[in-house]
């Protein structure tokens, strides 16, 4: 008989189920449990990555912690550029219900806040297939608040940062600007983009159903704010320099102009201004003319402002002294078939007189006793043809051809500043050799804590002699008398360079230069001015550029608190003040 399971004691109900069936059921159930156990072990222990990730996606979020872009400060810590929060408005066009009269009314209110016409706003919202449209980026924060208050469905905003430049136009070329993504595009913003930018941090958090952060997980990477950059620029001097330059450019109906003010002891640039300029916050319709930082990126033939350098080299050889006579009669000289002439016949001059009267013939005669190599070495040593060691994008190196290719007539023209080119910055820097007792010091746009060690080029005596000649040139009987200031002795050389157009010099197109230093005995500032194509009235460096030099020197020295070194008639009147009861 087959074995079966007895489910009941009643023989009537006895089933004929064989025992193996129930055993199989038990076995299958056991197998099922083993399967579940294995699956559980897999999910919990071995293959849990996937599930944990999926879980985390649902409650954990990585938040970016934005880093602030560093500020740009002037030498006194005043802000030249800083980031402020701004609201950027975006929309999901499909969600904006334009047919609803209430929404339509709100949209009409929105348009003026965005400084857009209602039609332009409608055009932005027209394409309903798009799921994301920028309406306007980087609006002022309070405008963003007003838009938030309108509460239009489908219009959202995002917090961004925008750069603000409180000094505006005067320092635009120095500071530069950033684009909408906060990357530097021009000037110091570009040169120091890496330092200014900083690094965004991040942290992982758990959010609850309401979107509130309830817990931080893992380590938080704190944001690294960008460094502040402190420039050597003094914003007050910068402003005055820009203002004087602008007035002069407009007065003489010139095309453009630049001015550079340098601390004669440290090589720090106190001001660097160009006109035309632009307002960094409003950059629509910007032209290349406005954008160019002429003082650094453009090179020109310096003309007569070069003469002091040539004379310095000549004095250094020991062949000349300031009182050595130089005969410039008859105001012309023939160099291998080309004629070099002066505006007048100055007759018999001294070396000092050559600078004072700005005689091309005299300079040519002096340069003829120098070798091309001597001149080239002198010019290179003070920075001509060399890329300036300055952290600024697009700094031009100018042109100084190797001396072996110089023809005699070229050597002659170079001695008075034609046939080579330099930027206004290079010109300014070259004069540090006279201001610092023969040492040339590197220029910088960043604040220096201690004066740099200069490279000796000339002897102290030569530097002093040239300074006295510069004082003569800016004094009575010189070409730059309009450079005089009240109370401070000044020395400087004017220059009027004909502009080259194509291969030839253009008729009636000039650049007026003036480069000089003050006070003469212990120079504190070097100022260089260039006005491009003055077209009304005069075009001479002595009449167009020298007055700018004068005013800029006057203001700079006053702001620096330098005591006058010349007699001034005091006008201090002690007014008795009536005491009130």
């Amino acid at each position: 008989m087959t074995r079966s399971v007895l489910y009941t004691s009643s023989p009537l109900l006895a089933s004929k189920t064989p025992l193996w069936r129930s055993k199989m059921i038990v076995a299958m159930l056991a197998l099922g449990f083993v399967g579940l156990g294995a699956r559980a072990a897999y999910v919990q222990v071995f293959g849990n990555d996937f599930f944990q990730r999926q879980g985390e996606v649902r409650f954990a979020r990585t938040l970016e912690l934005p880093a602030n872009r560093g500020r740009i400060l002037d030498r006194n810590g005043l802000i030249l550029a800083s980031s402020v929060p701004a609201a950027s408005i975006w929309a999901i066009p499909e969600d904006v219900d334009k047919d609803d009269p209430e929404v339509a009314a709100k949209l009409r209110k929105l348009a003026p806040l965005l400084e857009m016409t209602p039609a332009a706003l409608d055009a932005k919202l027209a394409d309903e297939d798009k799921t994301f449209v920028w309406i306007k980026r980087q609006l002022d924060w309070d405008v963003g608040e007003q838009i938030k208050a309108l509460g239009i469905k489908g219009i959202y905003q995002r917090k961004e940062y925008k750069r603000q430049y409180p000094e505006g136009e005067p320092s635009a070329h120095v500071v530069g600007f950033t684009n909408v993504e906060d990357h530097g595009q021009e000037g110091m913003e570009l040169a120091f983009n890496k330092e200014l930018a900083g690094k965004a941090g991040s942290r992982r958090v758990i959010k609850d159903r309401m979107g509130r952060v309830v817990e931080g997980v893992g380590e938080e990477v704190p944001p690294m704010d960008g460094q502040d950059i402190q420039l050597s620029i003094d914003s007050k001097i910068q402003y005055f320099a820009f203002q004087k330059l602008r007035d002069q450019v407009e007065k003489f109906k010139a095309k453009a102009g630049s001015v550079v003010v340098m601390d004669a002891r440290t090589g720090e640039l106190l001001a660097l201004a160009n006109y035309p300029s632009y307002v960094p916050d409003k950059r629509k319709n910007l032209t290349g003319e406005q954008l160019r930082n002429r003082a650094i990126t453009d090179v020109f033939e310096p003309g007569s402002t070069m003469k002091p350098i040539t004379i310095g080299i000549a004095l250094e050889t020991g062949k000349f002294k300031p009182e050595t006579p130089v005969d410039t009669t008859p105001g012309r000289i023939n160099v291998t078939g080309s004629t070099i002439s002066d505006t007048h016949n100055y007759g018999l001059l001294t070396v000092a007189g050559v600078i004072q009267k700005s005689s091309n013939v005299g300079t040519t005669k002096i340069s003829q006793s120098l070798t091309a190599q001597q001149m080239w070495e002198g010019f290179s040593a003070v920075g001509f043809g060399q890329k300036p060691q300055i952290a600024f994008p697009g700094a031009a190196s100018g042109r100084l051809r190797p001396y072996k290719t110089w023809r005699p007539v070229e050597q002659a023209t170079m001695s008075y500043g034609y046939g080579l080119s330099a930027s206004l910055l290079q010109m300014t820097r070259s004069y540090t050799v006279f201001a610092n007792d023969g040492r040339v010091i590197p220029a910088t746009m960043l604040k220096r804590d201690e004066p740099p060690v200069g490279v000796p080029i000339f002897s102290e005596r030569t530097a002093n002699q040239v300074r006295q000649m510069l004082a003569l040139a800016a004094g009575p009987g010189g070409t730059g008398q309009k450079a005089q200031t009240v109370g401070y002795s000044v020395g400087g050389k004017s220059g009027t360079a004909r502009k080259q157009v194509g291969k030839n010099y253009a008729a009636g197109k000039y650049r007026a230069w003036f480069t000089g230093l003050a006070p003469v005995d212990k120079p504190r500032v070097i100022v260089a001015v260039m006005v491009d194509e003055p077209s009304a009235g005069s075009f001479y460096g002595g009449t167009v550029a020298a007055p700018v030099f004068s005013e800029v020197v006057q203001q700079s020295l006053r702001l620096m608190g330098v005591q006058p070194d010349m007699a001034v008639v005091p006008q201090i009147v002690a007014n008795p003040v009536e005491e009130s009861l």
Partner: protein, 94 residues
């Protein structure tokens, strides 16, 4: 034996409830901290914004304009300046 088990059960329950409470408390405090941190960040940016605004109100252009027009001031020249030496002596320009 049973008494001990009951005691342990009670202790376990109490500890479990306390765990829930402290977890809740920690999350509450975390949220509060988070809110305070974002508030401080907001205030810092606000401060920066105001500083820029202050600076924009104090540009040389504006200061000069106000000094000249409203306060009827004019710039100092060496002729009307008294220079004080480092040693405290007062002298006018030479």
């Amino acid at each position: 034996m049973l008494r001990l088990n009951l005691m342990l059960l009670l202790a376990l329950m109490a500890s479990a409830i306390f765990l829930v409470h402290s977890q809740y408390e920690s999350r509450r405090l975390f949220t509060e901290l988070d809110r305070a941190v974002s508030e401080s960040r907001r205030l810092a940016t606000e401060n920066q914004r105001l500083e820029v605004e202050k600076r924009a109100q104090a540009t040389p252009l504006r200061v000069e304009g106000l000094a000249r027009d409203q306060l009827k001031m004019h710039s100092a020249t060496p002729a009307i300046t008294q220079y004080v030496q480092d040693n405290g002596r007062l002298e006018t320009a030479p």
